[in-house]
């Protein structure tokens, strides 16, 4: 993080050299990771001023104040240490330490008018004060809760759903603030996230687009994917999945939580974060790669030691009865949510594929299911 958001070796300003502290982490830790840009109620709705306008959470001066808080930190091997390649030593993997010489010792006004006092030896106290002020800002509970809901269950949760989760963030029932385990339980077990529960009130819509890479992991996880060499080789997945684990192209990750897909969703004011990386090029590239993956089944003579092979034997055993095969796929990959129309289409298709090639029936059904609209949306 210190490298990506560049507070590594961040120095106090120098009037002779004409330098100022780096504002990168100061801005993004507030904007992207904790409180966002406008004041929020517990249900994530914006707090409005007397003229009905949202209220900014901070001004540029607050960014410059936090930039001063985050000065002085670097590797244990020295403030100006810059290990690259073979120069990395074990010490360089230790937590950063602060070098008071480079720390801005002025007093800083923080969020909610909290103070980082500065002064001698203020490196760590300033950091503690700065992070504490962020942690206890009223936006944190709704901001984090809403993003976790988006990632786990729904792109368009109702305000009531967000508020129920955010309330657990504020107090897990045992007086603990910020218990993320309890928060995730609240996200997953909420009535709005349960199959068979009434849908959220309009215009909110339950469900989320599967991010492309999670289509592959759904296939791999259910069918016990493994390679003989023990690895999960997936070179350059961004080519076909528009994502690479730990490889987001910028601090904005792969897509933004407020992305409004143009067209019907945007017209209705509905979010679809994952759609930001799904276009005519990537949806096809993802479908094509998944087709190749379905052919990497245990027993395929073209496999080698690195092939991540899925075990299709339980499905092949059902292939002589198309309706049973489709029911199993519905259970395994769509959690029983497949529509009657899709069930019928897939069953007819399987029946039309040669009965003397049961593996072909299974891979064909998987290929089409993995590219289908219903699988693309997780509910």
């Amino acid at each position: 993080m210190a490298k990506m958001l560049t507070f590594l070796r961040n120095k106090k300003g120098d009037t002779v050299l004409g330098t100022s502290p780096d504002e990168n982490y100061a801005r993004e830790v507030m904007q992207l990771f904790s409180i966002g840009l406008v004041e929020r109620n517990l249900d994530f709705s914006p707090v409005l001023d007397g003229e009905g306008q949202p209220i900014p959470t901070y001004a540029q001066s607050m960014v410059q104040s936090y930039a001063k808080v985050f000065t002085g930190w670097s590797y244990t091997s020295g403030f100006n240490s810059n290990p690259v390649g073979a120069n990395w030593s074990p010490a360089d993997y230790e937590p950063l330490v602060c070098y008071e010489t480079y720390h801005d010792e002025s007093q800083k006004i923080l969020l909610d008018n909290e103070i980082a006092p500065g002064g001698a030896d203020s490196c760590e106290p300033d950091l503690d004060a700065g992070l504490s002020a962020i942690e206890h800002h009223a936006n944190v509970a709704p901001f984090i809760s809403r993003q976790l809901i988006e990632r786990f269950t729904s792109s368009n949760p109702s305000p009531a759903y967000i508020e129920r989760v955010a309330s657990v963030f504020v107090n897990d029932g045992h007086g603990v603030y910020g218990n993320l385990g309890a928060v995730v339980v609240a996200v997953l077990t909420d009535a709005e996230a349960r199959y068979g529960a009434p849908p959220p009130p309009a215009p909110y819509v339950f469900g989320k687009a599967r991010e492309p890479l999670l289509k592959l992991t759904a296939l791999w996880r259910y069918y016990g994917a493994a390679a003989t060499d023990g690895l999960y080789a997936l070179p350059n997945p961004q080519k076909n999945y528009a994502e690479r684990p730990l490889g987001a192209p910028s601090v904005f990750n792969f897509y933004l939580p407020d992305y409004l897909p143009p067209g019907e969703l945007a017209d209705a004011g509905l979010f679809g974060p994952e759609f930001q990386i799904m276009n005519e090029s990537t949806v096809v590239a993802t479908a094509n790669d998944l087709t190749l993956r379905t052919n990497n089944y245990v027993g395929n003579p073209t496999n080698d030691d690195t092939t991540v092979a899925i075990d299709l034997a339980p499905l092949v055993a059902l292939a002589s009865t198309p309706s049973s095969l489709v029911a199993a796929l519905d259970h395994d990959l769509m959690y029983g949510g497949m529509s009657d129309a899709m069930t019928s289409t897939l069953t007819d298709m399987v029946a039309a594929l040669p009965a003397n090639n049961p593996t072909g029936r299974v891979t064909g059904a998987l290929q089409v299911l993995l590219a289908s609209p219903e699988f693309a949306i997780q509910k």
Binding site: K3, S155, L256, E264, L346, P373
Partner: protein, 465 residues
């Protein structure tokens, strides 16, 4: 439900069933309704071809290191403000700007000789100190509480959105390129693919009310594969049936229409590109911007087969967010775009369309003139480059800053900028955009709708001939 929304919903719920022709007839119906609603005149058919190519420099390009005053007095101010981020005076690539004040000279970053050549040949221009403002804004006004300002200045995503939107406000999801395409796509009579084509996936710039971009890659449109061979037709028919199914929720419908379009449009695009003439202009290797621009040149070369009279292309590149290691990173960032743009201009000459294509940069903001140690932070007004045979080139464009000239005074905390050299834009990004949209053919009547704040400024910066 508003009439327009109702019409849109018809299109959305039907799109998965539609062949291209049926879809277009529905869009035609919507166009007629929209035109009636907007009150602006309809667009008569055209015979000529024009295209806009937007290159978005993601992350905030430090453009005050792209175009640098090189005369002694102003270079000294530049050097003092930029400190360690400054480019040595003797390393600048000199350019011959016309119409500048007495004794004022300029040079480009040493990584940009190709841009210098295009500029000096009269095919390139710089628009100086342009950014997101709602109305003319001085430093004093910026510092006055309550003065109207765009929301969330200095934030990447917000400022990217405002540059692409056509108004520096937070609402909505459309972009000015998409809104222009909504109006102009009627000129592409008989076309079966969208007039907007993205080489960089989803973007706000090309999002319209009815016209959305078609995404292809630098290697061309992406083909659905794995449906050949034995029983391939059976499997493809099943997939197409699932895509055409009536889906109860808008998330599922959105995916279905994307995949349907991908299949339909690929066939159209690929058969057109099969007839593309080879482009002999050399493009730089290992250059993703060059790959994208070369693919755009290929698409332009088959404009007749695509029935395209007007097109809007989008490419994005970066990160230009050089908080750290700027002296190491900036040269390769700038040389990548300079080499790619230089090759693309030459390719448009080879294809005989140089005067029909206008290429322009956008970037969410420029960066602080002073340094944070080994990089720079988010700022505001910056410099953009526009290129094409119809550009009245070899000039600098913009509105005079508070200090008097088009090129702002770079003194830290001077009349034109804040304490770290965050420049107050003297020219609105909407003026820049409207000048380009107007050249493409958008009527003044529609410009006033697409750019609601344009009325606060001179509507045309004059760089397009």
């Amino acid at each position: 439900m508003k009439r327009r929304d109702f019409l849109r919903n018809i299109a959305c719920s039907s799109v998965a069933f539609s062949t291209g022709g049926a879809l277009l007839s529905q869009l035609g119906m919507i166009d007629a309704a929209l035109a009636a609603q907007s009150g602006c005149p309809a667009y008569p058919p055209v015979d000529d071809y024009k295209a806009l190519v937007c290159l978005f420099l993601m992350g905030g390009n430090d453009s005050f290191n792209l175009l640098i005053p090189s005369d002694a007095a102003r270079y000294a101010t530049y050097a003092a403000s930029r400190g360690a981020m400054g480019i040595a005076q003797n390393a600048l690539v000199p350019i011959s700007a016309l119409g500048t004040g007495g004794g004022e000279t300029y040079g480009l970053h040493p990584s940009c000789p190709e841009l210098a050549s295009v500029f000096d040949a009269g095919h390139g221009a710089f628009v100086v100190n342009v950014g997101t403002v709602l109305q003319p804004t001085t430093k004093t006004q910026y510092l006055t509480p309550g003065y109207p300002l765009p929301p969330q200045l200095f934030s990447h995503a917000d400022q990217q959105g405002q540059w692409q939107y056509g108004q520096p406000t937070a609402n909505g999801s459309t972009g000015w390129g998409g809104l222009a395409a909504d109006r102009l796509h009627v000129l592409n009579a008989g076309a079966t693919i969208p007039m907007s084509i993205s080489l960089s996936g989803q973007n706000r710039f090309q999002a319209g009310m009815s016209i959305q971009p078609y995404s292809i890659s630098g290697a061309g449109p992406t083909a659905l594969s794995g449906y050949n061979g034995a029983n391939g037709a059976t499997r493809l028919a099943a997939l197409e049936a699932l895509l055409a199914q009536s889906h109860p929720d808008p998330l599922t419908r959105t995916y279905a229409s994307k995949m349907s379009n991908a299949i339909d449009w690929y066939n159209t695009m690929q058969s057109a590109l099969a007839g593309a003439p080879p482009i002999t202009t050399p493009f730089p290797d290992n250059n993703p911007v060059g790959d994208a621009l070369k693919e755009i040149a290929s698409v332009i070369s088959v404009r007749s087969a695509l029935s395209a009279k007007r097109q809007i292309f989008f490419v994005s590149y970066g990160s230009f967010d050089t908080h750290d290691d700027q002296l190491d990173d900036q040269p390769s960032l700038l040389s990548t775009i300079s080499q790619a743009l230089g090759a693309f201009y030459a390719a448009t000459e080879e294809l005989g369309v140089a005067s029909s294509v206008a290429t322009f940069t956008m970037s969410e903001f420029a960066r602080t003139l002073n340094t944070d140690g080994d990089g720079t932070d988010h700022a505001w007004g910056g410099i953009q480059f526009v290129m094409g045979g119809s550009v009245i080139g070899q000039r600098l464009y913009g509105t005079p800053a508070a200090s008097g000239g088009i090129f702002p005074d770079q003194t830290l905390d001077g009349p034109d900028c804040l304490s770290r050299g965050q420049m107050i834009p003297a020219t609105s990004c909407d003026q820049y955009a409207a000048t380009l949209a107007r050249w493409l053919g958008v009527s003044d009547c529609d410009l006033a709708t697409i750019f609601p704040y344009l009325a606060n400024f001179a509507p045309d910066l004059g760089f397009m001939g």
